[in-house]
Amino acid sequence: MSSKTVTVPPAEGSLSRRGFFMKLGILFNGFAAIVLALPVAHFLFSSITRGRENGYLSWVRLGDVDTFPEGETRMATFRNPLVMPTDGQTVDTACWVRRIAGDQFQVFAINCAHLGCPVRWFAQSGLFMCPCHGGAYYRDGSRASGPPERGLFEYPYKVENGVLTIQAGQLPTPGDPVASLTSEKPPCA
């Protein structure tokens, strides 16, 4: 057996049996890599692909309309529509609800439009203030001062049978202010 395996150097340009087999091996591994890469990529980027069809947003109940006095701004909390078993308290989200009059509302994200810190409402001066970099907003959410380049993010809302619901489910960020995409523009804009 061993005497028969003595290699004969291949002629210039021709393909030896071993060389061919190595190339086939590389090709076969490439095929295996592609077969594996597709599911891995799908797994890795699933958090993006799901969001593309707005799969994250849904209508969330905030509470009875009557719990929000007219002319006032109150904090409300809701549970994020998508919950994973390991999320703990992080799925509980806060927002600011301003009841203008009757069924007319404005629901603001808690996140500052600058870098996402939690803004606080000061009823006496009618301002939202951010503790991080000092952004301030008026009661209608429009920018008052500081580093933010826009007003507060707003959730689309609807009132049905005396219950206030908002469309939520995604962290609003300056580059992706999901919350305000479908809502009416604030009166000042």
Binding site: S47, G51, M84, T86, D87, G88, P118, Q124, G169
Partner: protein
């Protein structure tokens, strides 16, 4: 007996080395000749960084025995480490302080290498890999802060997401990839755990090995002499001649100071851990608790300050353009100045650049410890106006002081050194602005001040401005509009304007 023991050990050693064949290359590496004057205290920071990295590996593994990387339980597992597990607090403190020391030592090492010209030919690639090691060290610092899953970590992730979202076109996708979902939640912590514990440490180990290998292969940078010029054509021969003429084996001649400093650093980290204790965790990562003012860890404070002080329109371009430019600049540095003088004594621009960067980062870091740009959220209810400012004032002015307090003006304006510093201190505002200017500023805002027109009744505005007009140092008259005084002199003056200007505070 002793001799037999030694002989047995030697036999076992030989048995292993016959199979491993590692003794010869290890001895060669240990005894490779280095220039005599590199056995200096200035050359200990590289090995110190390696020492702290190993310390981080060990303490990190120890923490992983208890820590639970789940958004629902991470915070309570840290509490258990702090309070329930024997010396858990100490291991946490060692890891936290080790992290601070590692960033600091890597930066010092980098400055020393740059000032001693060690990045020049033929050590360009060693420098480039060093730049990657710095970035990975900062990456470890940030991801480590996230694993301390408390309020600061939660809102810090929000800041990271807000910055990432500003990248044109792909920003929103980057955010979802970073968070592992639509919000900061369980998946976010899990992937930062994977980064902090598997991905970045794996890369770090590989790159550290390459970095050290290149130091061994290319030799330790000789002590730079002013006038000794690096040329690509001749340097390696010169270095070889130097190590031959005036070289010593690395072990045992040069390693002594490294070993001493390594032990010193470990003990210093342990002492800091023992006296100052572990970092946090602060409040629970509950997004509905908004009574918080999140702040990054020490080595990102300069960025925190920068994000507050940049003009809003410059912020996004700055965030997206400057960091890549800095990284590219650092990588290109050894290729742009690969030859020439090594000594810092003949490289004034290099020295000035290092000083400028150090002073800038230091100043921003210092400012971020005071955060003068943040409103004091509780000043309006917690810092009363000092008594001397309302002593001997009229009822209207006192009412104004009340308006000043209740309308949260104090959150941004200090009086008598208490209150926020977002806006100017108002102790002598009456000297700067006339009555009309005060009214205009309060109603319309401007500069960096919100307009209060919708939130003050005419009566409240009148009272507030009357109070503000009393704010001037004794002996310094409040600003007056002469033309207006003339008009008013023909009418009956309002009571608030006839007060003797010397009856002010102080």
């Amino acid at each position: 007996m002793r001799v037999i023991n030694m002989r047995v050990i030697k036999k076992i050693g030989e048995w292993f080395d016959h199979r491993l064949q590692l003794a010869a290359p290890i001895r060669e590496a240990a005894e490779h000749p280095v220039p005599r004057n590199t056995a200096s205290w200035f050359y200990v920071f590289g090995s110190a960084a390696l020492t702290v990295f190993l310390l981080q590996l060990v303490t990190g593994i120890l923490l992983a025995l208890i820590y639970v990387p789940s958004a629902g339980e991470a915070w309570s597992s840290l509490q258990a480490l702090n309070h329930q597990v024997a010396l858990g607090w100490f291991i946490r403190a060692m890891h936290g302080w080790g992290s601070n020391f590692m960033v600091a030592i890597v930066l010092i090492h980098m400055v020393q290498v740059f000032l001693f010209g060690a990045h020049k030919f033929p050590r360009e690639l060693t420098w480039v890999i060093g730049v990657f090691l710095l970035l990975m060290t900062l990456g470890m610092a940030f991801t480590g802060q996230v694993l301390r899953f408390d309020q600061d970590a939660y809102w810090g992730l929000g800041i990271g997401a807000s910055i990432a979202s500003r990248v044109p076109i792909i920003g929103p996708f980057v955010v979802k990839l970073m968070l592992g979902g639509p919000i900061i939640a369980g998946a976010t912590l899990s992937r930062f755990f994977a980064l902090h514990v598997f991905v970045i440490p794996g890369l770090l180990i590989a790159f550290v090995a390459l970095h050290v290998l290149m130091v061994l292969k290319l030799g330790i940078n000789e002590w730079p002499m002013p006038g000794r010029i690096v040329r690509r054509a001749t340097y390696e021969a010169e270095y070889h001649a130097l190590t031959k003429k005036d070289g010593v084996p690395f072990v045992p001649y040069a390693i002594g100071k490294d070993m001493f400093f390594a032990a010193f650093i470990i003990l210093t980290v342990a002492a800091c851990a023992f006296y100052f204790g572990p970092f946090g965790p602060t409040g629970q990562p509950d997004p509905t608790i908004t009574q918080t003012a999140p702040k990054p860890d020490y080595f990102f404070l300069w960025l925190y300050a920068l994000l507050s002080l940049l003009p809003p329109s410059l912020e996004t371009p700055f965030l997206l353009i400057v960091p890549p430019l800095v990284i590219i600049g650092l990588i290109l540095l050894p290729f742009l100045s690969g030859e020439g003088e090594k000594s810092w004594k003949r490289r004034p621009i290099a020295v000035v650049t290092v000083l400028l960067i150090a002073i800038t980062l230091g100043t921003f870091t210092r400012m971020a410890q005071f955060t003068p740009w943040s409103p004091h959220m509780n000043a309006w209810s917690g810092d009363p106006i000092p008594e001397r400012y309302i002593h001997g004032t009229t009822a209207l002015e006192r009412q104004g002081a009340l308006v000043f307090q209740v309308k949260q003006c104090r959150n941004c304006h200090s009086i008598g050194d208490t209150g926020g510093q977002r806006g100017p201190a108002l102790d002598s505002v009456a000297v700067r602005l006339t009555q009309d200017q005060l009214i205009r500023q309060v109603i319309q805002g401007g500069g960096n001040m919100p307009a209060y027109g919708n939130n003050l009744s005419p009566a409240e505005t009148t009272a507030l401005v009357a109070f503000l007009e009393t704010l001037h140092p004794a002996g310094q008259n409040p600003a007056r509009d002469a033309a207006r005084d003339l008009v008013l002199s023909n009418e009956q003056r309002p009571a608030a304007n006839v007060r003797d200007s010397t009856v002010g505070p102080r």
